[in-house]
Symmetry: none
Subunit: 401 residues, 2 copies
């Protein structure tokens, strides 16, 4: 039996509160051999105090050696097997713009393209049309009506947009219409199973109507579709853990990922301080709070060690406000490492901290990668973080008599 299924059977509600603070891309690497990582270099008096109260550990997001994208990284933190719970590319794109995918949805990534008079593609990206020109065109496509299906069109960026078809019995197993080259017309969407036949017909109608609406556009007079995918249909936090869960994030992608597991997106914060304002306001309404801080990852991706250190210090500075709420369990972690030295996501374990009254002392004196190697959580896989949180929150019954 998988751990999540076991937890589902043992879950026991109570009034505890769990907070998961995620500093995206938290783990790092030294610039100089033997030097400090970003987290070790940062002055983090508040996190260090938590390390003395709680247990630390070195968390493996997926498996040793595997560098996760944001999707699998977060699913692991949320306790869902990130290798089994694959999110299709269309579903991820919808999620990335914060669209809450439902069980009847099929999402597909679309590109505006340029077609010549004969209907052949002359530019697969419509001249990389700027967002301010493409977004109104995507919105225009919301006029499209097809019987018995609800349609959502969301602009993404430049030539990209996403379409969601919502209806009964729609499959997501279809081939792309992008021929991956110019001089030929877009392909027909071909269904690969019985339930996807209806989706193919809907896609054909959508394309035909879109072509009429886009006729006369100088660049974006056609479209291609890629990565059809049904909603991953993950069981919700409420079902699995018995938790009313809130997600507090600035960026759409993380709101979308949280919605995939049934978290409610609360507030519209645009800074970390505002995220904590939202946390304070929503405190009485939820049992679990996922709070996402983006900029540790962004500065890591930029390859900027010093700026990533500063972001970690900003993150540390809000910790007292969270501690003041007296959560039963407070977790501090990341969805993966993003060492500034590599300027990319990496496979390195993520320094992780769990604070609760029921922690066994582990001798860690500060929060950092080296200390975490010797912490009470050991070297552990991300999917065990939620079971540990629930246990420390008193929300798991004994297994067996």
């Amino acid at each position: 039996m998988e751990i999540q299924e076991l937890v589902r059977q043992l879950k026991t509600p109570n009034n505890s509160k769990i907070v998961m603070l995620v500093a995206d891309g938290l783990g790092g690497l030294p610039v100089e051999p033997g030097g400090p990582t970003e987290l070790e270099a940062a002055k983090t008096p508040n996190l260090d105090a938590l390390a003395r109260r709680g247990v630390s550990g070195s968390m493996i997001p997926i498996a040793l050696g595997i560098s996760p994208g944001s999707g699998p990284g977060h699913l692991g933190l949320f306790g869902y097997d990130p290798v089994k719970c694959l999110i299709g590319r269309g579903a991820l794109e919808a999620t990335g713009v914060g669209f809450a995918l439902g069980p009847k949805d099929v999402a597909v990534r679309c590109n505006f393209c340029t077609l010549d008079a004969a209907g052949n593609i002359t530019d697969r990206r419509a001249g990389r049309i700027p967002s301010e020109e493409s977004a109104p065109l995507a919105v225009k496509l919301r006029q499209i009506k097809i019987p018995q299906v609800e349609i959502f069109v969301e602009p993404v960026k430049e030539h990209r947009f996403v379409v969601i078809f919502r209806g009964e019995g729609l499959g997501g197993n279809l081939s792309d219409t992008d021929p991956q080259r110019t001089g030929v017309p877009p392909l027909e969407p071909v269904p690969h199973d019985a339930t996807s036949r209806g989706t193919a017909e809907i896609a054909r109608q959508f394309i035909a109507q879109a072509q009429q609406l886009l006729a006369g556009q100088p660049k974006a007079n056609g479209l291609t579709m890629r990565g059809f995918s049904a909603s991953p249909q993950l069981p919700s936090y409420e079902e699995v853990y018995g938790l009313r869960a809130a997600a507090i994030a600035v960026y759409p992608m993380y709101k979308g990922l949280a919605q995939l597991v049934g978290m409610k997106v609360v507030g519209q914060p645009s800074t970390l301080a505002e995220e904590i304002d939202v946390l304070e306001q929503a405190w009485n309404d939820y049992d679990f709070f996922f709070i996402h801080f983006k900029y540790t990852d962004s500065r890591g991706e930029d390859g900027n060690f010093a700026e990533k250190v500063k972001m970690i210090e900003q993150f540390d500075a809000i910790v007292p406000r969270v501690v003041a709420l007296e959560p039963t369990v407070l977790i501090v972690t990341g969805d993966h490492s993003t060492p500034a030295r590599l300027a990319s996501h990496s496979w390195h374990p993520v320094p992780t901290l769990l604070v609760a009254d029921t922690c066994r002392p582990d001798g860690c004196e500060a929060f950092g990668e080296r200390q975490c190697l010797h912490g009470g959580l050991g070297h552990f896989q991300a999917i065990y973080l939620m079971p540990l949180a629930l246990a420390h929150a008193g929300r798991l019954a004994k297994f067996g008599a």
Copy 2:
């Protein structure tokens, strides 16, 4: 999905070089309570320097408590699930003499035996006939011809030899012909599935022709067959990892194991120094090098602590020549522990070291069992060593967007 399958999907070729130095049976035990292990007692300045540069860990070859044979031990190091990828006994015997099993091969272990005039076995091991008498008899059996099948006969030791049948559609699911007692004739080979019927007929013809060739021999005038097994047909290093892999070993068994995963056996070294000569010569032609050092295990099996220490020091002495080649990733490990105190393979974890520019400092100052307990690799299973090596070599793409 298993980790090897995930790695296969994420593999990304580049020009990096990976070296895996395997000191067979490396892990040990103290002789006196609290004393040093063989590795801790040995003077290993070069390995200690690597421990300061890289990450250390305590590697579990199969699972806690399981003492591996050479086959499973190496398959784990190579990244193949050693419990699922079983090598049949005939296949292992063929591998043990360095025979490169192909996908159309069925291998079987044979014993010379002594038959009386009535065809009953009087000695199941032909009086433990010495190798210098039995080897020419095994070679004589190479005269045997059977239509549509290629036959290989390889002497092993004393009464033992191995036969490989190569042909289309040969199954390996047959019962042994050794009745496990004397006073009765050898049994007929009985096929247990449809594809093994042809193999049974071939085996019968082989036995009949062999009996004629051996007629008149005083001891070895008959044979029995045991452990029929088809080639395990493992996917190759090239398929799974995208690596052109070279194996450098002195002993046939390790060359055979490497060939099972598609490594090319290079050179004909007879000492460790010659193995490194081969490494230097082959450096430009391969991406991955498996280098096997036997004598740490041999002296462990002998129960000779002091001599195992010396072998570890000899092993340490060649490390600078490997480092001078500047591999992207250098791994130092063993396939299992062979504590001199137990004079046998054991279940104890294996001290393991991975050195690359992308290692996170772990505070280890020397290479030894105690230090490895606190290293950055943690306590990990052998099958994750190759994923880690590929990650540090920049050969794995990000998992998911």
